[in-house]
């Protein structure tokens, strides 16, 4: 029962991921793609949590912490490059 809920959640999240991927591939400006990148990394954190639940291994969550950190740094790096602050 709970498994089925997780399946549905994963499927819906996957659709969100595809939307973000569409915006990343199409995005007219660079900043649009960066927004899509940010969204994709956050969705990926959700994926990691789902993988950890499915495998039943809490140690995978450490990777999610690193992920949250790196998406932040990546977006800031691009933004600072775009506004010529690097």
């Amino acid at each position: 029962m709970v498994d089925i809920l997780i399946y549905i959640a994963a499927a819906v999240t996957g659709i969100a991921f595809l939307f973000a991927l569409y915006r990343f591939l199409k995005g007219p400006t660079a900043a649009d793609r960066v927004v899509a990148f940010d969204t994709m990394t956050l969705v990926t954190v959700v994926f990691i949590v789902i993988i950890a639940l499915a495998e039943g291994r809490g140690i995978y969550l450490d990777v999610a912490v690193i992920y949250a950190l790196l998406s932040f740094l990546g977006v800031i790096a691009v933004a600072r490059y775009l506004e010529r602050g690097l």
């Binding site: 495998e55 039943g56 291994r57 809490g58 140690i59 995978y60």
Partner: protein, 118 residues
């Protein structure tokens, strides 16, 4: 699953090669190189994967006694760990040289580098 991942790795290697061979901008070539690098790492990790097994870390979910029956091959993982770190060092070196190249020639076009041609 392992086969799909392996195919993804091979396709990434091919895309990276294509980019490195057809682009003339040196930064572009380095980017393509990192893509191929990622592909190689994926293929290597896939070789160590075994069906229905889990990560080689012992905890409550995987007690030490039945580790040999439950975990996947840890050796390729250790290898890839090294490969990623070295790959980053190589990329940093290439970027430093690209910067020097631009400083000398004021361009990033690799075909403008004529000293080594014969």
């Amino acid at each position: 699953m392992a086969l799909i991942a392996m195919a993804a790795g091979f396709i990434l290697i091919l895309i990276g090669f294509y980019g490195a061979l057809t682009n003339r901008n040196i930064l572009r070539m380095i980017v393509a190189f990192t893509v191929a690098d990622t592909g190689v790492n994926i293929v290597m990790v896939t070789v160590g994967y075994l069906r229905d097994r889990t990560a080689p870390i012992l905890d409550n979910a995987v007690p030490a006694a039945d580790a040999a029956a439950r975990i996947i091959d840890p050796v390729p993982q250790a290898l890839v760990l090294t490969a990623i770190v070295i790959g980053m060092g190589v990329t940093a070196l290439m970027l430093a040289f690209a910067y020097r190249f631009y400083e000398k020639k004021r361009t990033l076009d690799i075909t403008k580098c004529t000293e080594l041609k014969w």
